[in-house]
């Protein structure tokens, strides 16, 4: 016998949020809300279940298959829960040339997972993803929503240890190129710099990035 489970609708106690999302789009473009609604659910629950798909469909007056059809087109909506820490290794060319293959191998060994898997406790999941747009600060690792740029062996270990303690470090944001050429150091760990100083540095900079 099939036991029917009652699921509390996700947006039941989030009417204000729902109104805000629907309000972003004109009445004739109500369907545009499908992606933001999927995102809201996934950010809260780490995946979008069939029940949530049906709920979103009902809100937008669509069939569940239409919502599922949109969801399945994209690669970052998950139909199954990912781990508390979802590690996404960029594996496209620039990151590959900076060691993404080795980075991914290392993570597989360290976490005992192959790409696409989540551990039994639901703590870590590993995924190989395509270009994340961090090519000049490769290799990049995305954990949940946060980018960790120019990942080295040493820093990766610190990151994994922090995640194991359920602490997510601030993003490693690196800026190379003009930021350095204009007289600044790479952004990571850099002290605040007033706009006026940057302008002065630019005025003094005759060497370009050389």
């Amino acid at each position: 016998m099939i036991e029917l489970q009652t699921v509390t609708p996700f947006f039941e106690d989030k009417q204000e949020l729902l109104e805000e999302i629907l309000g972003r789009y004109p009445d004739y473009g109500r369907r545009s809300a499908v992606m933001p609604l999927l995102w809201e659910v996934q950010r809260a629950e780490r995946y979008v279940s069939e029940a949530r798909v049906a709920e979103i469909a009902a809100i937008l007056d669509l069939h569940a298959t239409e919502v599922k059809g949109v969801m399945s087109f994209y690669s970052t909506y998950h139909g199954e829960p990912v781990g508390r820490w979802h590690l996404q290794v960029c594996s496209t060319l620039s990151c590959k040339l900076a060691g993404a293959d080795e980075l991914c191998d290392h993570l597989e060994e360290r976490l005992g997972l192959v790409p696409g898997e989540t551990d039994a406790e639901g703590r870590f999941s590993l995924q190989k993803v395509e270009c994340l747009g961090s090519c000049t600060t490769a290799p990049v690792l995305q954990v949940n929503d946060t980018y960790y740029e120019r990942v080295t062996r040493g820093r990766l270990e610190e990151l994994l240890e922090a995640l194991a303690r359920d602490e997510q470090p601030a993003p490693w944001r690196e800026r190379h190129g003009d930021n350095e050429a204009l007289g600044g150091a790479p952004m990571a760990g850099n002290a605040a710099k007033a706009p006026a100083q940057a302008a002065d540095a630019a005025a003094n900079d005759e060497e370009g990035g050389a």
Partner: protein
């Protein structure tokens, strides 16, 4: 008249030119530069004020005169695109910002959005005024969470202080922006696929014509531009078309942002005048190859690679010069490939990307890009390939050119053809010996 032409100052085509000044990227990497106060402190929204006091047609003409071409890869003249909008007829009109930056090698838009979001908002506002669109759609790729937060924060700030909303800067012009997150699909960078995605549909490209100006978002008149294109607009309005067109070549005016990655000493994003040589980009800015190089990709992985030789290094960064040499300027993402990297392995990486990103709508792409090409590469790389397989790959690539519904298949096939043109020996070595000419090497930073 002849004298006047002779006296025209030489255009700026080098970063060493003392007249060159970093403009769009000045505040990238500067902590705190993303706030409205910081933006106002260095003259933010003055260009918008100036634009709103001018006729929309005048702004279109200024952008046309500047020679600004699309910075998303295709290089279509921005002002000309704006002038395609039909006359105002009471229907809702849209200015769409393509922030789906997904071309491998490219990251210039992310930095701009994260560190200087108001520059883009002001650009959208001015573009909206120029084409008389009261709604802005900013479609940003889903992975750019930090940029999304910065942009939505900046838009709220701008709304609260009258830089967006029902009456922008007391001009009577109403303008607002909705930020819409994608969810990991390269094809959304194609303008009509992006519009379908925004409308809550699967992101399959649409048949063109009609073009977006006729039937764009929700079938309504729309213009779509790349992030960097739009962020250039305030500076062009502020400093004049001449400021922009004084840089670059006859064909390609103004500034671009090169993103140097791969085997170079100093990877990074650099603002450069168009017409700069690839030698200056890779050697002076990027610090030269970090190990001997054999090839470079001039504008993102969709652009066929060039051998690393004097002829190609001395080529100017100019849309027509790069096209003439057999590739594309693209997004300005330069990737340097080292000598000891197996080119077949590198091209498999790129092929796998396009295979993953094919939307599956049309047969040539679904079968050729998504299925056959990666299989042939895997066969070759696993040591089971034959010399005939290399011929088949060449044939499949040839047949993918110009046969698919949208340019994704060309983007996948053309680079394969170039790799075969210049490095066929590596394919043949694999087919004959079953092992690559250059075995895998640990490339990860200590």
């Amino acid at each position: 008249m002849a004298d006047a032409v002779a006296e025209r100052p030489k255009p700026i085509t080098s970063r060493h030119d003392p007249r060159f000044e970093v403009t769009l990227y000045r505040y990238v990497g500067v902590e705190g530069a993303h706030t409205l106060d910081a933006y106002l402190e260095h003259g933010g929204y003055e260009a918008a004020r100036k634009a709103l006091a001018s006729e929309p047609g005048q702004i279109v003409n200024t952008v046309k005169a500047s020679g600004l071409r699309g910075r998303g890869g295709a290089g279509f003249p921005a002002g000309v695109k704006w002038s395609f909008m039909p006359p105002v007829d009471g229907r809702q009109r849209f200015i769409v910002c393509n922030a789906d930056e997904s071309e491998p090698g490219s990251c210039k838009d992310r930095y701009l959005m994260e560190d200087d979001p108001h520059q883009l908002i002001e650009g959208m506002l001015i573009a909206g005024w120029a084409i008389q669109a009261t709604k802005g759609v900013l479609y940003i790729r889903g992975e750019y969470w930090h940029a999304y937060e910065r942009l939505t924060g900046a838009i709220e700030e701008a709304r609260a202080r009258g830089y967006l909303g029902a009456n922008v800067l007391d001009s009577g012009f109403a303008f607002d922006i909705v930020v819409h997150r994608g969810a990991g699909a390269y094809i959304c960078g194609e303008e009509t696929a992006l519009m379908n995605s925004f409308e809550g549909l699967r992101a399959n490209p649409r048949l063109k014509p009609p073009f977006p100006a006729q039937a764009g978002v929700y079938g309504l008149p729309s213009t779509i531009n790349n992030v960097t294109t739009l962020a250039s607009v305030p500076h062009i309005v502020e400093k004049g078309a001449d400021w922009f067109s004084a840089m670059g070549t006859d064909d390609s005016k103004g500034i671009h942002h090169v993103q140097i990655s791969g085997a170079v000493a100093r990877p990074g994003v650099y603002e450069v005048p168009m017409g700069i040589s690839y030698r200056e980009i890779i050697h002076d800015l990027g610090g030269g190859p970090s190990s001997p190089a054999k090839a470079f990709i001039p504008g993102g992985t969709s652009c066929p690679l060039f051998p690393y030789d004097d002829e190609h290094l001395d080529m100017p960064m100019d849309f027509s010069a790069v096209a003439k040499a057999g590739s594309m300027l693209g997004t300005g993402a330069v990737i340097v490939i080292p000598e000891d990297q197996c080119i077949v392995d590198a091209m498999y990486n790129v092929t796998r990307f396009y295979a993953h990103e094919s939307c599956g709508k049309c047969t040539p792409c679904r079968e050729g890009v998504s299925t056959w090409m990666p299989q042939m590469y895997r066969k070759l790389l696993s040591g089971r390939g034959t010399p005939e397989d290399v011929d088949v790959m060449e044939d499949v690539a040839k047949n993918l050119r110009g046969t698919a519904f949208c340019p994704l298949a060309d983007a996948a096939a053309w680079p394969i053809q170039a790799s075969l043109q210049y490095f066929r020996n590596e394919y043949e070595h694999l087919a004959q010996h079953g092992t690559p000419l250059h075995p895998r090497k640990d490339r990860w930073l200590a």
